[in-house]
C-alpha cells in the first residue's frame, strides 16, 4: 500500500482554479503529480456523467474546483457544480464506495498556494482511503 499512487482528476474552471494552478507553477510551488487537470470554461459545465465516468474509468479521486461562492463569471456555475458533486457523492454511497473520493473546492485565481494545498489535501485523503474499488488491476 505504501507504493499506492492515486490517480486523481481535477475539473478546474479556467477563471479561477486553472489560473491558480498556473500561478502555483510560476511561484514554483510543488504539488503532487497525481492530479490530472481538466480545464473547463466554468464548473457549471461539469456534468454528473463526467464525474461518474472518471470513477468508472478507474480514477481513485475526483474533484471540481470552481470560483469562490458568489464570484462565478456565469453567476451560478459553481453552485450548480456543487449540487452535481453532492449527487455523485450520494451515488457512490449508494454503491458502497467512499463519497469522500469526490469533492468540491472553491478558490480564486490569486490563490496559487491554496491550489497546491488542495491538490496535496486530496492526494493525502485518497492515499488514506486506498485504491478505488472500481480500479481493475492497473489502469
Amino acid at each position: 500500500m505504501d507504493t499506492f499512487e492515486p490517480q486523481i482528476v481535477a475539473f478546474c474552471c479556467k477563471y479561477c482554479a486553472y489560473a491558480a494552478a498556473d500561478l502555483a507553477g510560476s511561484m514554483r510551488l510543488a504539488y503532487p503529480p497525481n492530479v490530472k487537470i481538466v480545464q473547463l470554461p466554468c464548473t457549471g459545465r461539469v456534468d454528473i456523467f463526467h464525474l461518474l465516468t472518471a470513477i468508472e474509468d478507474g480514477a481513485d479521486g475526483v474533484y471540481v474546483a470552481g470560483c469562490l461562492e458568489g464570484e462565478c463569471h456565469f453567476m451560478k456555475g459553481n453552485f450548480r457544480a456543487r449540487k452535481k458533486v453532492e449527487y455523485v457523492k450520494k451515488t457512490l454511497a449508494e454503491l458502497g464506495i467512499e463519497p469522500e473520493r469526490v469533492e468540491m473546492y472553491n478558490l480564486s485565481s490569486a490563490m496559487g498556494p491554496r491550489f497546491a494545498e488542495i491538490a496535496q489535501e486530496m492526494t493525502d485523503r485518497i492515499k488514506e482511503l486506498g485504491p478505488s474499488p472500481v480500479r481493475t488491476e492497473t489502469v
Binding site: 456534468d47 454528473i48 456523467f49 461518474l52 465516468t53 470513477i55 468508472e56 451515488t91 457512490l92 449508494e94 454503491l95 458502497g96 464506495i97 474499488p133 472500481v134 481493475t136
Partner: protein, 222 residues
C-alpha cells in the same frame, strides 16, 4: 407531462443481476423534460451500474439508446435490429415504455428503471407537482382552474374539510390545502356564492371503474 422518479440503484442492480450485457433505452418525451429518463439520465445510470458491477468484479457491458418516444409503435420498431443482442433491456420511460417494448418484442426481458408517479408540471427548477388525476371528466372550471380531485388530499368536491388550517392541509405541513386556494380565489373574484351550490358526487365512471381505458378517434383510425 408524466412525472416519475428513478428507482434506486440497488433495485435496478437486483433486476439485472444475472445479466452481462444490457441495453438502457431512454425516451425523448415526458421523462426527458422531467429529467428522469432522457439522454443524460441514461448516461448517468449506465455509468453508475458499470461502476457497481466493476466493484463487484463482474463487469457489465451497457449500450445506451434514446427513442423519440416509447409510447408509439413506430419508434419502438426502430430498435428491432438490435433488441435481441442483449440479455435484457432497461427502459427509462414511464410505465408505458417497457410495456410497449414487451408487447413488440415478446422474447426479450424488459425492466423499468422509473417509478411513474403523476401528471404534473415543474413549479420551479427541479421541482414537479401533481396537477391532474386523469379522472376522465374534467371539473376544474367549477373551481376557477384549480383541481380538487388531484390536489385535495381527499379529492373533495365540496370543501374545505375541517382539517384546513392556515392554508395547509391536515395531512402535512408540506401540503397546501387547495380548497383554501379555491375559496381565496373565489373571494378575490367576488364569486364566493358559487360555492353555495353543492357539487354532486363525482361521476367516476370515466375513471378506472371500468378497468383499463381506451380512447378511440374514428377520424384517425385506419
Amino acid at each position: 407531462m408524466i412525472i416519475g422518479d428513478r428507482k434506486s440503484l440497488a433495485e435496478i442492480l437486483d433486476m439485472i443481476k444475472d445479466c452481462r450485457n444490457i441495453l438502457i433505452t431512454g425516451c425523448k418525451g415526458c421523462v426527458t423534460v422531467c429529467n428522469v429518463g432522457g439522454l443524460k439520465e441514461v448516461q448517468v445510470l449506465a455509468s453508475s451500474l458499470k461502476i457497481a458491477r466493476k466493484k463487484e468484479g463482474r463487469p457489465i457491458t451497457i449500450e445506451e439508446n434514446l427513442l423519440e418516444r416509447q409510447c408509439d409503435p413506430e419508434y419502438i420498431a426502430e430498435v428491432s435490429d438490435i433488441i435481441h443482442n442483449y440479455d435484457a433491456v432497461v427502459s427509462m420511460a414511464c410505465g408505458v415504455g417497457p410495456q410497449f417494448l414487451s408487447e413488440a418484442y415478446p422474447k426479450q426481458k424488459f425492466f423499468p428503471a422509473i417509478n411513474t408517479k403523476f401528471f404534473g408540471g415543474a413549479t420551479a427548477h427541479g421541482i414537479w407537482e401533481e396537477r391532474c388525476a386523469g379522472c376522465g371528466s374534467c371539473v376544474i372550471h367549477q373551481y376557477d382552474g384549480l383541481c380538487p380531485i388531484s390536489r385535495c388530499s381527499k379529492s373533495l368536491m365540496n370543501g374545505p374539510c375541517g382539517g384546513s388550517a392556515n392554508g395547509l392541509c391536515e395531512i402535512s405541513r408540506d401540503v397546501v390545502c387547495i380548497w383554501d386556494m379555491i375559496v381565496k380565489k373565489k373571494m378575490e373574484q367576488g364569486r364566493l356564492d358559487d360555492l353555495l351550490a353543492v357539487a354532486p358526487a363525482k361521476d367516476w365512471s370515466t375513471s378506472r371503474d371500468g378497468g383499463p381505458r381506451k380512447s378511440i378517434r374514428e377520424e384517425l383510425t385506419q
